[in-house]
């Protein structure tokens, strides 16, 4: 029965009649849950974003149309936060990709004790985000943090550097914490891709006189390009809505220098209790991410393996 169903599914792309309702019943609970926890709030939030809805002021909540969106799009705070998000995303995703590729190449070499290396690399990824942020807050602590201790004791820095208290440095310190945590994911994805690279084209290229770099550039990199794009998509979207790392490390400070768009939305919705504005921000962030996704999907489609 099962075999038959699978064959028919493969041939016609459809479930056989008898199995159809079963398939429906099997996905119904999950579909119901998704409907309740995703679709309903999605519409609810859209509706909320059209009202002047400040929780603490329940008696004055008029319908304001797209006013919340206009307010946000014309506010300095929104664009400054979006800019910081962009900086955070580009910096963290870029560094993670370069480091991740390097680590993946290293882990792909037939080294002795390769399993230890792989185990070590995956460790930061296994840390909960909040623990990672707390750990980095301690490391970056100006007076008793490990980073300043290391730099002053090795003579690289002559005095303590105020990592999280200086608005020009703090954003890069939260990028660093994010890089530490998420590079392993990129490395593992790329390692998996590297292991599928066939040996024959490389051997053929070598026979034709290609050097190591050329082999890497035109064969290995071309082969793993789709996975690189997938890693990029995953990390970009995650980085764009980063919250926990920054909230734990700096709460958006100093002087708002690490206030990314997710922190801005949180503060609007839950600190000022401006639910209407927060809902509008939620939709604007979603739109920005959809825009990014569209670009990536186009890139993914346009880059088949050759």
């Amino acid at each position: 029965m099962q075999l038959f169903a699978r064959r028919q599914l493969r041939l016609t792309g459809r479930w056989p009649k008898g199995e159809k309702w079963l398939a429906g019943a099997m996905i119904a609970p999950a579909a119901l849950v998704i409907f309740l926890v995703a679709a309903v709030p999605l519409v609810g939030v859209l509706w909320m974003s059209l009202f002047h809805h400040v929780l603490i002021n329940p008696n004055n909540q008029p319908f304001v149309g797209v006013q919340n969106y206009i307010t946000q799009l014309t506010s300095q705070g929104f664009w400054a936060a979006a800019e910081r998000s962009l900086l955070f995303t580009v910096a963290s995703t870029g560094i993670e990709l370069i480091l991740g590729l390097g680590l993946a190449l290293l882990m792909n070499q037939p080294l002795r004790l390769r399993w230890i290396l792989r185990g070590l690399v995956i460790l930061p990824w296994a840390l909960p985000g909040v623990s990672n942020a707390l750990m980095w807050r301690w490391i970056d602590q100006a007076q008793y943090g490990a980073l300043n201790a290391l730099l002053t004791q090795t003579g690289i820095a002559s005095s303590y550097i105020n990592w999280l208290g200086d608005p020009h440095i703090a954003i890069y310190m939260v990028v660093l914490a994010d890089v530490y945590k998420n590079t392993p994911l990129v490395a593992l994805l790329l390692l998996a891709a590297l292991q599928t690279v066939p040996k024959e084209p490389i051997e053929a290229a070598r026979v034709d006189g290609a050097g190591s770099f050329q082999c890497f550039r035109y064969i290995t990199l071309a082969w793993i390009k789709p996975v690189i794009l997938i890693a990029l998509v995953l990390r970009t979207m995650d980085a764009f809505k980063v919250f926990d790392t920054i909230w734990i490390m700096t709460r958006g400070g100093p002087a708002n220098s690490t206030q990314t768009i997710a922190i801005y939305a949180y503060q609007t919705a839950y600190e000022s209790f401006n639910f209407g504005g927060g809902a509008a921000l939620g939709y604007l962030i979603a739109l920005l991410i959809v825009g990014l996704a569209a670009i990536y999907i186009r890139l993914l489609r346009g880059g088949p393996v050759t």
Binding site: P58, A142, Q143, G165, R251, A255
Partner: protein
């Protein structure tokens, strides 16, 4: 056979879903008003950290129940960070479960404005109005009305390192901010400590607390005039921000303060890396705990010059409470002199008379002596219904001034200009 298992699985999934739905819908109904056998059940919301511990609140509650057999109290504890949201959502959007809630000193205006707490002005016992420190009382006040029974008492103190001060030739802690600056300059020039002062100036509520404390000693913490127009861009508050910036620029205040919260200031103090720091009562115990502190016996405590920020909290009776009288009775019991004097390990009493009892101060006379003065001179942060938004704007302004991105005057003027928008949110 395989399909049989699948059907069973589907059935199981549906049952699980129904159980889940039943569980999640049953909890609000259990929060109703229990009235079995003529007894009343009160629901009280507290916070989990700082001040009285869960066990102490439980002990106080048991004592109250023993004295009032017709009233039962169900207590609930949440993190401070969740307290405000929990109260607001319960009262505004939710089912109004709680009868009485712990209210921070910065919330009465907002809660009173939204009508989610009851006006207790005429109901408070007379011995409270006369016996409790006036400035502690102000923590539950908004526009002349009282919305909370003051209970948890705390303020910012000036902690100082006696050994460092002695090395620089000073016998007493500073009593004014000008004196503190003079002492700090001497400490720095003699090379006793690199950064004499450490503050909790991170972009958080604590930054506003330090600013308010320093304003209290720099001409007064007056933030609005009688007409409700902002005055925090002049007088004491402006002078305070200018002093903070000056101290940072002169290397008297630790530049890392810009990223520091209360625990960071405590750690720097007890590591012996600062001569002065503003922090809360609990630091005194930590400073004298050999397990944590490198400077046991060296850290002194003094009232902040001119008065420290009121960090107290009060117990409010909610709008939704059907047993307002019983709730008030419970709150008054918790805050009674007898109860407050019984549990002094984590919070000091708010009663003036308690400080004339040497047997209470036996363990840490220095702390009690400082507190007796400090509790009398506490200053309040701005009392406006839109406090959270205002505080967020002020936090950024303080940081912009401290990082040199803006002058203190321009940074505070900018917030003053935002006030009409913030107020009309």
């Amino acid at each position: 056979m395989a399909t049989g298992i699948r059907y069973r699985f589907v059935g199981l999934a549906i049952v699980a879903l129904m159980v889940f739905a039943a569980c999640s819908s049953s909890s609000p109904s259990s929060g109703g008003q229990g009235s079995a056998g003529g007894t009343i059940t009160l629901h009280a919301l507290f916070m989990k950290q700082a001040g009285y511990s869960d066990q102490e609140v439980a002990a106080m509650t048991s004592a109250f129940e023993a004295a009032n057999p017709d009233i039962k109290v169900q207590t609930e504890f949440v993190a401070y960070e969740a307290l405000h949201d929990k109260i607001v959502t319960d009262q505004v959007g939710g089912s109004g479960i709680y009868d009485t809630v712990l209210m921070d000193t910065i919330w009465p205006a907002e809660f009173a404005h939204a009508g989610i707490v009851q006006d207790l002005t005429s109901k408070l016992p007379a011995d409270f109005t006369s016996g409790v420190f006036q400035s502690a009382f102000a923590g539950g006040e908004y526009q002349g009305h009282f919305y909370g029974v003051p209970w948890l008492n705390d303020t910012e103190f000036l902690f100082y390192n006696k050994t460092m001060l002695a090395q620089a030739g000073f016998t007493n802690p500073p009593t004014t901010w000008a004196e503190l600056v003079t002492q700090a300059q001497a400490l720095k020039s003699k090379g006793i400590v690199q950064y004499p002062f450490v503050g909790q100036w991170a972009q958080s509520e604590l930054g506003v607390c330090d600013w308010t404390t320093i304003a209290g000693g720099s001409g007064g913490a007056s933030f609005f005039d009688a007409q409700g127009k902002p005055t925090f861009n002049q007088g004491g508050p402006l002078a305070a921000l200018q002093l903070m910036v000056q101290m940072k620029n002169d290397g008297l205040a630790n530049p890392a303060s810009l990223g520091y919260g209360s625990d960071d200031v405590r750690n720097v103090l007890i590591a012996g890396q600062a001569a002065f720091g503003l922090d809360w009562t609990y630091v005194y115990a930590a400073a004298n705990d050999p397990a944590q502190s490198k400077v046991v016996g060296q850290i002194g405590i003094a009232p902040a010059p001119g008065g420290g920020t009121n960090g107290g909290m009060s117990m409010a009776v909610t709008r939704s409470s059907k047993h307002a009288d019983a709730a008030l009775k419970y709150d008054v019991f918790l805050a009674s002199q007898a109860q407050e004097e019984k549990y002094t390990e984590n919070a000091l009493p708010e009663w003036k008379a308690s400080f004339d009892k040497p047997e209470l101060a036996k363990g840490s006379p220095e702390l009690w002596a400082a507190a007796k003065i400090a509790f009398n001179t506490m200053v309040s942060r701005p009392m406006v219904p839109y406090y959270t938004s205002l505080s967020n704007a002020l936090q950024v302004a303080i940081q912009k001034a401290l990082t040199g991105e803006s002058t203190p005057q321009a940074a505070l003027d900018d917030v003053a200009a935002q006030v009409p928008t913030l107020a009309n949110q």
